[in-house]
């Protein structure tokens, strides 16, 4: 199953979204959170993201959801911290974080491959709420 990593400037946000997503996918998704920096301050930490990617990987790749701006920079830097052969197995999803994470986790729980999980996350861009 494709693993999911949630990257946020806020540790609470990442952990809260992890709870929500795990519930929605009925415990069938493998989700890791990487939020905040060392002393609990707001921000993103590429080293922590790389570790979350390692933990989330079950052998079929990892989809990464990010919140704002520099979360993307940190996630890209995390790819530099992993061995080069990991790069094609990690998909940074160009998606809104909450809906994208839900879509990715549900898709992953169906056993879909990484490309389909990323696509599902990115479809969330079109989702209208009201």
């Amino acid at each position: 199953m494709v693993g999911i990593v949630l990257v946020s400037h806020s540790a609470k946000l990442a952990a809260g979204l992890q709870d929500l997503v795990e519930q929605l996918a009925q415990g069938r998704a493998h989700v890791e959170a990487a939020g905040g920096v060392a002393d609990g301050a707001l921000g993103t930490d590429a080293a922590a993201i790389a570790e979350a990617i390692r933990r989330a990987d079950q052998g079929e790749g990892v989809a990464v959801l990010m919140d704002l701006g520099s979360a993307v920079l940190s996630a890209e830097t995390a790819l530099d911290l992993l061995p080069a052969d990991w790069r094609p197995r990690v998909a940074l999803c160009d998606a809104p974080m909450v809906e994208g994470a839900v879509a990715a986790a549900v898709e992953a729980s169906l056993g879909s491959p990484l490309a389909a999980v990323r696509r599902a996350a990115e479809e969330a861009r079109e989702l209208r709420k009201l």
Partner: protein, 208 residues
């Protein structure tokens, strides 16, 4: 020859500069950003100094700085400067002594890595607007046969000019770009911290 000890000194001087200029950087960032650049850079460089091991080679020292910045700065400057020092480290390698040319090459590698990571170009009102002229000046002065200490002074001066040149620019990258025209007339905080880092290098690597 430059040394790994000077590399460590560079980072200590940069940390001192971030402490000294923390409020100034914060004020600059309050005008066109999240008002956290000063605090972030101070925190990041405190972490750099905390894990600094003078006995290591230059590459290891620089990579240690990269990892500290990546994990503690928090904002965009973390992965950006982190990438700078990671590429610097890879370029200079596991050496305790290195030539001026090797130092310049490491700066260039760091600059290119940072530019690539941030997808920025000159004139977008960013770190690059100080760092790129500094690197160009360093390379040009060394090519002209100047000694390293003079070339680094030239680099610091070019960085300083680059910082001032950001004032009339409209930000088209990063957090400040959300302000559009309102970013005009303000000195860029990222370029300012970049100047401080270059100046610290000029002080540290002076006197080969």
């Amino acid at each position: 020859m430059s040394t790994s000890a000077q590399t460590a000194r560079w980072l200590r001087l940069a940390a001192a500069a971030m402490a000294e200029h923390r409020d100034e950087l914060t004020a600059l960032d309050a005008a066109i950003g999240d008002a956290d650049h000063g605090v972030n850079m101070h925190r990041g460089f405190q972490a750099v100094v905390a894990r600094l091991d003078e006995t290591q080679d230059a590459g290891s020292i620089a990579r240690g700085a990269a990892m500290a910045l990546i994990s503690t700065v928090g904002g965009a400057a973390g992965p950006l400067y982190g990438t700078f020092f990671m590429r610097f480290a890879a370029s200079v390698g596991a050496k305790h002594e290195f030539t001026a040319a090797e130092l310049a090459a490491a700066f260039r590698a760091g600059l290119d890595g940072l530019a690539q990571r941030g997808k920025a170009q000159a004139g977008e009102k960013t770190i690059l607007d100080a760092l790129a002229p500094a690197c160009a000046a360093l390379e040009a002065d060394l090519a002209n046969g100047e000694p390293l200490s003079d070339a680094l002074l030239g680099a610091a001066e070019a960085a300083r000019q680059g910082v001032l040149a950001t004032i009339p620019l409209v930000a088209t990258k990063g957090r400040a770009s959300y302000l559009g025209e309102r970013s005009r007339g303000h000195q860029d905080p990222g370029a300012t911290s970049a100047y401080l880092i270059v100046k610290a290098a000029a002080d540290a690597f002076a006197g080969e």
